[in-house]
Symmetry: C2
Subunit: 153 residues, 2 copies
DNA sequence: TATGAAACCTGATATCT
DNA sequence: AGATATCAGGTTTCATA
């Protein structure tokens, strides 16, 4: 699916506020309500618009700890890589899991309620049983920016 | 503000789908529409619920490149740290910027349309003028998981 | 003081031109 | 693609415990 200027405008707005009324959106992009509605439906159907989510303040909600974790696996064959990935997908403390190029195999973003629970997490998950050779944690002291928005157009 | 069981239930649901109708939500948490609406309003007012956003497929939308960037500054006094942070906030390619403990000063998550534009970004932003001593990029080859949801309760 | 029920009114959806 | 009609859903008010 090819995105035209109207699509990218709509996506830019919706990435900032998923709750904009269609009338308002239509006004902002200089199109009709019906057109906007159709475009959004298409973008959803094609999988470009994934879903609408509510963002919460992680500190206020009792999850003050964020860690960037670099992981090196013992063996890197496809089956074991896939196994590690599904393990990470199943762990709800793991916010993000990327396979990376370079000195590590994976880069994770992990949240926790406390250092104790993070410690428990690492002991439980980063084991040789799970094919993990070693891992390194980098702890966030302060979040200066967190955006889900990707700039378009 | 203290979160009770109803609040955490509501937050858990809204983090997965910000567009759930109030009636449906009310049914799921066994409360009335009015109560759910009130709780959501309070959560918004208190800043725990930050906002509702649409998530897009970054690859499909022309932003296939994601990099984790570790940054070491030249000097670390408060003013210069703050300066670097506001610089990052102003850069729309920077999705996340965390001040971290350990061998680096900052950890960034950066998206780009291509390696060329990423290169251009680094040349423009990671300069000694901006107090950057050195930086290291770790490129994502594949995203196995990306969640905005933090588990509650 | 917080809740649930119901009226009301705004906005999303579908159809037609 | 734009306009209109219909209907679902959000908002407000009121009664209640």
């Amino acid at each position: 699916m090819e995105l035209d200027r109207l699509d990218t405008q709509i996506l830019n707005i919706l990435q900032d506020d998923a709750g904009v009324p269609l009338r308002t959106l239509a006004g902002m992009v200089h199109a009709s309500v019906a057109t906007c509605q159709r475009r959004i439906a298409q973008l959803r159907a094609s999988g470009i618009l994934i879903k609408d989510v509510a963002l919460v303040d992680r500190v206020r909600v009792g999850r003050p700890l964020t860690a960037f974790v670099s992981v090196v696996l013992d063996q890197q064959n496809t089956a074991l890589l896939k196994m590690f990935e599904s393990l990470m997908r199943a762990e709800e403390d793991v916010m993000a899991c990327y396979e990376v190029a370079g000195e590590f195999d994976f880069m994770l973003v992990v949240t926790a309620a406390s250092m104790e629970s993070y410690h428990e997490f690492t002991r439980r998950v980063f084991t040789s049983n799970n094919n993990v050779r070693n891992y390194k944690s980098l702890f966030a002291m302060n979040c200066a920016k967190f955006e889900t928005r990707v700039p378009l157009g």
